[in-house]
Symmetry: C2
Subunit: 215 residues, 2 copies
DNA sequence: CAAAATTAATCAAACGATTGATTAGTCAAA
DNA sequence: TTTGACTAATCAATCGTTTGATTAATTTTG
């Protein structure tokens, strides 16, 4: 049945996502993935063409849903520019902490200088999401609610970089925060609201022109 | 000669550092390393025992050169707290860009779920630098020059995270900035001062209480 | 409708290439 | 001649991928 086929592909993607996240692209062998998924090794190539194709399929699936979320926020005319950015921050913090294994995987692979085709494809997919945030900040520039001399690329680096830092270096972050951030309860009840509140205040202080004459 | 041996080992470590940074631990083969270093493959095992031993040796060497950098800034009583932080920012931006290969290597290995002994070692070293910045911010809290309700751990995450983001994801950063950030001239003349200026203004907006009555 | 033809899905086995590591031996210096 | 630096050749293991065969499902045909 067609439904079964889709479920099977999805199941492979589920397993591959976890194995890639645990071992990295090179460290995760096709044998391990197919073994843990309970399918024949050749199925990976049959469905996804290659190991790289499988990786990209995992990646694309993860990133696509977030993209539509960002786009909906950006196109919402009922909220202010700053309100949009706040929504982005909330969603991004919420999301990246849920998917932190995957986030680590992305950073590890993109930070490689070689393997250009893979890196380029990942970058291309990530760039779409970056562009959505960029658009919002630019909107704040044109309607005067943000300071005119802000550095947009740097702001983006701060938004993504701050969260990546916490997620990618959990041992170090735990020492800095003074609590094991991998503790799920702490993460949910303490860290997430804290990161959200901090990011909003930080960016507001840098971006938002309180003396703006627009609405 | 003994001198030659040390030079040769050092040369291998130089090459290994770069190759590990480019390909990751798994992706970097011993053949590639020995090939680029112009030595026989067996020399790696001869000198360092194993691939992991070589990897550890790369770290040990780098770590040794890291130890004595920022501590003088914190103990300097002739500048304001904010001045100290500015100095730290300048120093880090300057430094991380020089050592960006190594920085990438650190981030990739720390983000791994495996290889705990190595991760702990790296975390310990990084924590020394983190602590120096933490001390400075706390000083600003006690002398009233910084707002009293700031989130110190998050500020640290922003300082390191923003920089790491730019360095670790050069392809993406280049697209965001609109110029290849691996271009050395651009990096030196444009990006470095830009990152420094941005970080200072961002943190000043968040941290510095302009109505402070201290000096 | 039923038989035949075609396609899709799955499998065990094996491919050539590459991995990290080791061996046995060379060679120069002491 | 003995020792330590060094090399070419090779090891078994594992890598991602491909193969040819088999089964299941679907479509076409008579």
């Amino acid at each position: 049945m067609d439904k079964d086929k889709i479920d099977k592909k999805d199941h492979i993607l589920d397993v591959a996502e976890r194995v890639f996240a645990d071992y990295g692209f090179d460290g995760a062998s096709t044998r391990t993935i197919s073994g843990e998924a309970g399918v024949n090794m050749a199925m990976l190539n049959y469905y996804f063409g290659s190991k790289e194709g499988l990786f990209l399929a995992v990646f694309e699936r993860k990133i696509a849903s977030f993209r539509t979320l960002l786009q909906n926020i950006g196109n919402d005319d009922t909220i202010t520019t700053w309100g949009k950015l706040e929504k982005c921050i909330d969603n991004y913090v919420e999301r990246i902490i849920v998917n932190n294994c995957f986030q680590k995987l992305i950073n590890r692979e993109v930070s490689m200088n070689k393997r250009w085709t893979l890196t380029d494809k990942i970058t291309e997919i990530l760039m779409v999401n970056v562009y959505e945030i960029k658009k919002i900040i630019e909107e704040g520039l044109t309607n005067g609610s943000f300071y005119s001399d802000i550095d947009i690329p740097m702001v983006i680096a701060t938004i993504f970089g701050t969260k990546n830092y916490i997620i990618n270096m959990p041992q170090l972050s735990s020492l800095i925060v003074g609590h094991d951030i991998r503790d799920e309860k702490f993460m949910e009840e303490e860290l997430k609201p804290r990161v959200k509140a901090y990011m909003k205040r930080l960016l507001k202080a840098y971006l938002v022109n309180e003396n703006d004459n627009s609405k």
